[in-house]
C-alpha cells in the first residue's frame, strides 16, 4: 500500500491541492467558491490592500531596526500578510485572539500601536498592549500553549452566552505539540466557540512540513470531530471569507473549525536565522509569484476600483508609518532596574519587597563610585 492508496495526497509543487479555497488568484482574478460567497465593496478591498501594505512596511522597518541594534530580534511576517489581515479583519470587537509571536498583522487589526508591538522584541517588556483592551492576548513564544488558552476562553464565552468567539493562531510546527492536540480534543467535546487558525508557512525554523505531518493539516480536524478547511493563505479575500464563516459557525453553536492557511514564510525564521542552510531559493521563486499584495493590486487596477492616486496615497501613508515605527522604537524609554520586582504577584509579598529594597540599596551604594 502506498500513501496515495490511503488517501494521502502527494504535495506536488506546493500548490495547496484541489481543496484550496481561493477567491482571488495570484494573477488578481476574482473567482467564486460555492461555500464561501463574499460580498465586498471596492472600498473594503482598498482598505484590505492598505492594511497589507502597511503591515508589510511595519515589518520591513522592524527588520531594519533589528539590523541597527534597536531590537534584540524580530520575527518577520513577510509573505503571511494576507492570512493575518484576512483573518484579523474577520474578527468582531468582542472576539478574542490568541496569537503566537509572528502575528503582527493580527495585532495591527486589533489596534495595537507600533511601539506596543516592538517593545517585546526590544527587550523592554513582554508585550506593550493591554490584552483586555485590545482583545489580543500577549504573544506566546512557547509553541502551541495559547491554543489551550483560546479554547478555555471560548468555553468561558460559551457559559456567558452571546455571540463572541475566540481564535487561536499557531504554526505548522506547533501542530505537533501535545497542547495543540489537547486543545482540539477539548474544543471538540465541549463544542467550544473557537477557531484554530494554523498558518502553514511550510517551515518550522529548518524543518519542512513533512517533518510534522503526512497528511494536509486541515484534514486532521476530521479525526477530532470538527471541520477543517484549507484556504489560500496568500489570498486576503479567501482568508476573510473562510475565517468569517468559521467564526460564524462558532458564534451559532456549531463548535470549532480548523482553518489551515496555506502560505509561505518568505523571510528567515527570525533575524537570528540563516535559511540558506536548509532551503532552496527556487522554492522562494514559486511563492514570490503568489505574493499576497501584488494580486490585490492587480485586481484593484484592472477592475478600476482604485486609481494611481490611491496607490500613491497608500505609499505616502506607508512612509509615514515607517517613520512612526522608527521613532516609537528608538524613543522608547528604557525600563528601570527595579521594574524587575513589580507585578510578580497580585497580592504583594514581603519577601519580594525585601529583595527589591535590598537591590535598591545595593544600586545606591554605587552612587558616585567610578566603576
Amino acid at each position: 500500500m502506498t500513501l496515495g492508496d490511503i488517501g494521502v495526497p502527494v504535495q506536488s509543487e506546493q500548490s495547496g491541492g484541489p481543496e484550496l479555497v481561493q477567491l482571488l488568484t495570484p494573477e488578481g482574478e476574482r473567482v467564486h467558491h460555492p461555500d464561501y460567497p463574499l460580498e465586498v465593496t471596492a472600498e473594503e478591498v482598498r482598505d484590505l490592500y492598505r492594511d497589507l501594505v502597511l503591515v508589510r512596511r511595519l515589518d520591513v522597518e522592524a527588520t531594519a531596526l533589528q539590523r541597527q541594534g534597536e531590537l534584540g530580534i524580530w520575527a518577520s511576517l513577510l509573505g503571511q500578510e494576507a492570512a493575518q489581515i484576512g483573518s484579523g479583519r474577520a474578527l468582531r470587537p468582542g472576539d478574542m485572539a490568541f496569537p503566537s509571536y509572528r502575528e503582527h498583522g493580527v495585532a495591527w487589526c486589533r489596534g495595537v500601536r507600533p511601539g506596543e508591538l516592538l517593545s517585546l522584541y526590544r527587550g523592554n517588556d513582554f508585550g506593550g498592549w493591554d490584552p483586555s483592551e485590545t482583545n489580543l492576548g500577549l504573544y506566546s513564544i512557547v509553541i502551541g500553549a495559547q491554543t489551550l488558552h483560546a479554547t478555555g476562553y471560548a468555553m468561558a464565552m460559551q457559559r456567558d452566552g452571546g455571540e463572541d468567539a475566540s481564535i487561536a493562531y499557531f504554526g505548522d510546527g506547533a501542530s505537533s505539540q501535545g497542547d495543540v492536540n489537547e486543545a482540539f480534543v477539548w474544543a471538540s467535546v465541549f463544542n467550544a466557540p473557537v477557531v484554530f487558525f494554523c498558518q502553514n508557512n511550510q517551515w518550522a525554523i529548518s524543518e519542512p512540513i513533512e517533518k510534522q505531518s503526512r497528511i494536509p493539516l486541515f484534514q486532521r480536524a476530521r479525526g477530532f470531530g470538527f471541520p477543517g478547511v484549507r484556504v489560500d493563505g496568500n489570498d486576503v479575500l479567501a482568508c476573510l471569507a473562510v475565517t468569517r464563516a468559521a467564526l460564524d459557525a462558532a458564534r451559532t453553536g456549531q463548535g470549532p473549525t480548523l482553518v489551515e492557511a496555506y502560505t509561505y514564510r518568505m523571510g528567515a525564521h527570525t533575524t537570528s536565522d540563516d535559511p540558506t542552510r536548509y532551503r532552496l531559493a527556487s522554492e522562494l521563486e514559486i511563492w514570490r509569484l503568489r505574493d499576497p499584495i501584488e494580486r490585490v493590486k492587480a485586481y484593484l487596477s484592472r477592475s478600476g476600483e482604485a486609481d494611481a492616486a490611491f496607490f500613491e496615497s497608500v505609499q505616502e501613508q506607508s512612509d509615514e508609518l515607517a517613520g512612526q515605527v522608527r521613532s516609537a522604537c528608538v524613543d522608547m524609554p528604557d525600563p528601570h532596574p527595579l521594574d524587575i520586582f513589580t507585578e510578580v504577584y497580585a497580592e504583594k509579598t514581603p519577601h519580594i519587597d525585601a529583595q527589591r529594597d535590598g537591590f535598591a540599596a545595593y544600586l545606591d551604594s554605587f552612587e558616585g563610585v567610578q566603576h
Binding site: R122, I141, E207, R277, P335, D339, Y362
Partner: protein, 324 residues
C-alpha cells in the same frame, strides 16, 4: 593541544561518541540540516545520516518520551532541548517517566538518555530563552545533572554523560558557546561527578557552575588586587552534588559564597548552605551567602544585566562575608 569554542568542543564530543558507539542517536528540533540553532550538532546528520541524527516533530514531550522507548531497546539517545524554557512540555516524561524507569523496573531497564539543554541568560533573548531550571531536575531522584563551564569539560563531560547508564540532564552555558580555550582531547578526564577547584585561595570559597564560573574567576582576579585570595570551585555536577570538595575547601577558608543565575530560593546554593552547615559548622566564620537571580520571573532582556549576578555582586558578597 587545539583551540575549541565550547560549541565546537561539544560538537566534537558528540561526533566521537557517535563514532565509538553505533547505538548513540541524536534527536531534537532543527538538529539535522541546520545543525541546531547553536550549531552544536553541525555536520553530524551529513556524516551519520538521518537515522542517527533525527529532526523530530516539534514536541518536547514526544522527544523525551520516544527517547525512553529507544533506550529500552538499547539505544543511547542524546536529546536536544532547543532552549531551557522549552523543557517544561517534557517535564512529565522526564520527571515521572525517565527518572523512574530504572527504579520501577528494579534495575532491569537502564535509561542511558542524555538531555542537552542550553541554559542561562545574558544573550539578550526574548522570554523563555534564558532560564535556569536546574533545581527542578536536581530535586528529582533518578536523574543526574551536570553543567559544563569550559570547552575542555564540554568535550569530556558530554562523552562521559552519553556513556553513563543513567539519565543525565546536561546543561550547557549558552552565553559561553563562543568562548575559546586550548585543550588536548586525548587527555584522560577526571570523574564526571566531581567538583573541581579551578583557582586555589585561602580567604573565601566561591562556588559556581556553568556560565557563572567565569564571573567567579573574574571576581577572584579583581579581589586579588585588594589582597583577597578567593578559592573558586567549579561545581560541575549538581546531582549527585559533590559537597565533599566544597566542605573540604570551607574547612580551610571558613567562608562560602555560592553563585548561580537561578533564583536563590531553593536553588543549589540553598542545598550547599545546608550541607556545609551540617558538615563544617565549626569551621564557618560567616554565614553561607548566596548570590543568585531574584525570586521573580526572568525579566525582559534590557533588565537582565541587573538580574544576573555579576562581578560586583560577587565581590559585594565576598565583602559581606569577610566583614562578618
Amino acid at each position: 593541544m587545539a583551540t575549541f569554542t565550547l560549541a565546537k568542543a561539544l560538537n566534537d564530543g558528540l561526533r566521537k561518541a557517535m563514532e565509538d558507539d553505533p547505538k548513540v542517536l541524536i534527536m531534537g528540533e532543527d538538529v539535522g540540516k541546520l545543525g541546531g540553532v547553536f550549531r552544536v550538532t553541525d555536520g553530524l546528520q551529513k556524516d551519520f545520516g538521518e537515522d542517527r541524527v533525527i529532526d523530530t516533530p516539534l514536541a518536547e514531550s514526544g522527544i523525551i518520551g520516544t527517547a525512553i522507548g529507544m533506550a529500552m531497546r538499547g539505544y543511547r539517545p542524546v536529546c536536544e532541548i532547543q532552549f531551557d524554557g522549552f523543557v517544561y512540555p517534557a517535564f512529565d516524561q522526564i520527571v515521572s517517566q525517565l527518572a523512574k524507569v530504572h527504579y520501577r523496573s528494579r534495575g532491569k531497564i537502564k535509561m542511558p538518555v542524555t538531555i542537552r539543554i542550553p541554559f542561562g541568560g545574558g544573550i539578550g533573548a526574548v522570554e523563555h530563552h534564558s532560564e535556569s531550571p536546574e533545581a527542578y531536575f536536581a530535586h528529582t531522584a533518578g536523574l543526574k545533572v551536570v553543567a559544563c563551564s569550559n570547552p575542555a569539560d564540554a568535550y569530556h563531560m558530554i562523552r562521559q554523560s552519553i556513556a553513563s547508564d543513567d539519565p543525565i540532564i546536561f546543561l550547557e552555558p549558552k552565553r559561553r558557546y563562543w568562548e575559546k580555550a586550548d585543550f588536548d582531547p586525548a587527555a584522560e578526564p577526571g570523574p564526571l561527578h566531581q567538583a573541581r577547584v579551578v583557582r586555589p585561595g585561602s580567604d573565601v570559597t566561591v562556588v559556581a557552575y556553568g556560565p557563572m564560573v567565569k564571573v567567579a574567576l573574574d571576581a577572584a582576579t579583581a579581589a586579588e588586587e585588594d589582597g583577597r585570595h578567593l578559592e573558586v570551585i567549579d561545581l560541575r555536577t549538581l546531582s549527585p552534588l559533590d559537597s565533599g570538595t566544597v566542605v573540604e575547601s570551607v574547612r580551610r577558608t571558613g567562608r562560602l559564597v555560592v553563585v548561580h543565575e537561578a533564583p536563590t530560593t531553593l536553588g543549589m546554593g540553598s542545598e550547599l548552605a545546608a550541607r556545609v552547615t551540617e558538615q563544617a559548622f565549626y569551621s564557618l566564620e560567616a554565614p553561607v551567602l548566596r548570590v543568585g537571580g531574584f525570586d521573580t520571573p526572568y525579566p525582559p532582556s534590557r533588565l537582565e544585566e541587573d538580574f544576573l549576578p555579576d562581578l560586583d555582586r560577587v565581590l559585594d558578597a565576598v565583602d559581606r562575608s569577610l566583614a562578618f
